[in-house]
């Protein structure tokens, strides 16, 4: 059994190792030269004819497969020469991103059009995975001025437009009207969290629900919804590229959240999905995406009320982040495919289609001129989401531009809200982590 490593064996093994290393170096990314350009220049589509077919990768946000297919069918009728393959590329934004990134690495099977969420598009931009849409917007005469300004501005960087808004949402305050009535509370969302703290004991006493309020599941998008608390207390995850999640204001906001669970005992944390917990009657109130609205209205066996997100002691309004997904075009496909995809992108975001998408999902219409009369007559709660758009705020850089930051925020939130960890120490650790991610993964690419 003993192995004698003589000179011949050693040379043989060394040769094998060198051959293996050489073989390995044949595949994977290029290691010669500098990193890929983060901003491909404008592409000239003059004389390009759209491809005969392309794949549209979507996660069907807000259970939108049926309405997406109907829009695709309408497009086929209008443009019979361009076939759109509607591909379910994941169950959520993360899974679709995983598939897209893997295809980028394999350099094959890329789609013509892809759903990209608020926390992913910037990474695609820094990796050079998506193209700027400015040239296509001009060539296809996309009415960019008719889009909701705040939503379209979310995808602008380095003076270019990198995506167009699609399944766009904001968090919304959901409340059980029956519970509010039984507790003698007004039929509206609280204006501030302090007001709700006064209401919570009454709700708990009269409703029979386990919680007066349930925080959204941390494995979901804790970093997104907690911006509401942070902003209300005058804090944030970051201010520009300065990470101030350990500021006294931010710590105070999360300390208040922790107290609502452990000290005042009227709040809990959802394990899987706060909208499902709310619809099941486990809690009297919660915060969840506007994209959950139709699902909640369908499954809840009580009267559902919705309202703006509550403010805090420092800011009573403008405490609601935007969110959701846009549509982008990969750089790794041919110009013909890019043009075909852009033609469909224009069609998909036209006023009547965005209205149809909104009616089917609860996501906000992305076009100002979208006729929502019929939709609002059927589901008046969507109006609240639309009105709240006027008081939304662009998300903190730390959450949307730093790879993995959302996950780190969720871990920190879990420590504070489910393990009663020290808030200041947890936020100090988070700041160090965010600083590290920025320095290593983002800052060098911003310079190039």
């Amino acid at each position: 059994m003993a192995m004698n490593l003589d000179r011949r064996n050693f040379l043989g093994l060394a040769g094998l190792g060198v051959a293996a290393a050489a073989l390995a170096a044949c595949g994977g990314p290029s290691t010669s030269g500098s990193a890929a350009s983060s901003s491909p220049s404008d592409i000239d589509f003059t004389g390009v004819k759209p491809a005969g077919s392309f794949d549209f990768w979507t996660s069907h946000p807000g259970q939108s497969q049926a309405v997406e297919q109907s829009i695709v069918d309408k497009f086929q009728a209008k443009f019979p020469d361009i076939k759109v393959n509607l591909v379910t590329a994941g169950a959520n934004y993360e899974e679709i991103a995983q598939k897209f990134q893997t295809s980028q690495a394999a350099k094959s099977a890329l789609p013509g059009l892809v759903v990209l969420s608020d926390v992913w598009w910037f990474r695609y931009y820094t990796n050079g995975n998506i193209i700027p849409l400015d040239g296509l917007i001009k060539q296809l005469d996309v009415k960019i001025d008719d889009f909701q300004k705040s939503l379209v501005a979310d995808y602008q960087y380095a003076n270019k437009q990198w995506a167009l808004p699609y399944g766009r949402s904001t968090p919304l305050f959901y409340y059980n009207k029956d519970h509010f009535k039984a507790a003698g509370l007004p039929d509206r969302a609280p204006k501030t969290w302090q007001e709700f703290a006064d209401w919570a004991p009454k709700l708990q006493a009269s409703s029979g629900a386990k919680y007066a309020y349930i925080y959204p599941a941390l494995a979901g998008y804790a970093g997104w919804t907690l911006q509401n608390n942070l902003w209300g207390w005058g804090g944030s995850w970051s201010n520009g590229w300065t990470f101030n999640c350990d500021s006294p204001e931010s710590v105070a906001a999360l300390q208040w959240a922790q107290d609502s669970i452990y000290k005042d005992k009227w709040a809990g944390v959802s394990s899987k999905n706060a909208a499902d917990d709310f619809a099941a009657g486990i809690t009297s109130t919660t915060i969840s995406s506007t994209g959950d609205l139709l699902g909640v209205l369908k499954s809840a066996k009580f009267n559902v009320g919705v309202g703006f997100l509550p403010g805090g002691p420092k800011a009573a309004t403008n405490v609601c982040p935007t969110g959701g997904a846009g549509l982008g075009i990969p750089s790794g496909v041919s110009k013909e495919v890019q043009l075909a995809a852009a033609t469909f992108l224009k069609f998909m975001t036209e006023p009547e289609n965005t209205a149809a998408f909104s009616a089917a999902t609860g996501y906000m219409p992305t076009r100002v001129s979208a006729d929502m009369t019929a939709v609002l007559a059927k589901t008046p709660q969507i109006k609240t989401a639309m009105d709240q758009l006027a008081v939304t705020k662009v998300q903190d850089n730390a959450r949307v531009f730093l790879p993995g930051a959302d996950q780190e925020m969720a871990k920190a939130a879990a420590k504070i809200l489910t393990q009663q960890g020290d808030v200041k120490a947890t936020m100090t650790d988070l700041k160090a982590t965010l600083d590290g991610i920025y320095t290593k993964d983002v800052k060098p690419k911003l310079k190039s």
């Binding site: 994977g28 990134q101 980028q104």
Partner: protein, 316 residues
């Protein structure tokens, strides 16, 4: 052939004092060799392309600073390994891996042996019981994870309902990182103990009955017979299970992915490698380094088991 048939071995040895290479390549030997190549080469080629090439590629990627999705990368040597072993996450990831592996291997094997002893009894219904015990092992990990996630849900899960019935609150199985690990371990052991039970059952049924009977005649009670005869004679089975379940536990993925997608408290080496590359971080080179660490650990454990543990095994 004729010469070999007519010559005695001694004469042949005298005629051919030293082995000659050409003699090994007679027509038949050559033909057999080509048949061997024809049969083995396709499989060897598949193993080379789909197992060894990715393994070598992964080792190469572990020396790169590469963001998944980017077409370019920088060679950084062993920096990814240094970054992993000096990161604050490393002790937690290695600790979680150790706890998960030790408890799931120990739990599956111990409970599997106890279940096998029960199934070995000659009573009615054992055929059904054997099928029932083995069934979870062949079920999809995704399906098992989803069902158990519902059972553990503190809001409206079955367990929560049962606990409420006796006036207790459900623990935060999903949100509390320590309880998440306990939850995943429970489900993993439940799913895999059937495998250990069936293998142990086969071992128990092959034990020599005459030795047992002799021990009984000598007055050894059930526990003594089990400890002094069954356990030593089952050592080849135990050794086999130790290697296979340990490798399986170190590679456990589906239940962790389904039950705790964020990996909060349940991030073993393999899940950390997945999260780093395909989760939110996209650090492909760093992830590859973690995979190589896992590979090295598996290799070391297997070699140690073969060299030291196997000595304790009674094969007859």
């Amino acid at each position: 052939m004729t010469r070999q048939l007519t010559s005695s071995p001694a004469a042949t040895a005298q005629a051919v004092p030293a082995p000659q290479r050409r003699g090994r390549w007679s027509g038949r030997t050559r033909r057999d060799f080509f048949v061997f190549l024809a049969l083995a080469l396709p499989n060897l080629a598949l193993i080379a392309v789909f197992t060894y090439l990715p393994l070598i590629n992964n080792m190469y990627y572990s020396t790169l600073d590469w963001t998944l999705g980017s077409t370019s990368a920088t060679v950084v040597g062993l920096d990814n390994y240094v970054a992993f072993f000096t990161s604050s996450d490393a002790p937690q990831v290695l600790g979680t891996t150790l706890v998960f592996t030790v408890v799931t291997v120990g739990g599956s094997m111990t409970l599997g042996l106890l279940v096998a002893l029960a199934l070995n009894a000659k009573v009615r219904g054992t055929t059904f019981a054997r099928s029932a015990v083995f069934a979870p092992y062949v079920l999809s990990g995704v399906g098992v994870g989803l069902v158990w996630l519902f059972i553990f849900d503190p809001g409206y899960g079955v367990l929560s309902w049962l606990l409420r019935g006796i006036g207790q609150q459900s623990p935060q199985w999903i949100n509390d990182p320590q309880l998440s690990l306990v939850m995943v371990i429970i489900v993993y052991v439940w799913k895999n103990l059937g495998y250990c039970a069936v293998v142990y059952l086969a071992g128990l049924q092959s034990l020599p009955k005459d030795v047992m009977e002799a021990a009984s005649l000598d007055g050894a009670n059930g526990l003594r017979r089990f400890m002094s005869i069954s356990v030593p004679l089952l050592s080849p089975t135990t050794f086999f299970l130790l290697i296979t379940t340990m490798i399986s536990s170190l590679q456990a993925f589906d239940l962790i992915r389904i039950m705790t997608p964020l990996g909060n408290g349940t991030s073993t080496l393999i899940y950390e490698a997945y999260l780093q590359a395909f989760g939110a971080y996209n650090r492909a080179g760093y992830s590859a380094a973690i995979s190589v660490v896992l590979f090295a650990i598996l290799l070391i454990i297997t070699v140690l088991q073969l060299r030291f543990v196997e000595r304790k095994v009674h094969y007859s």
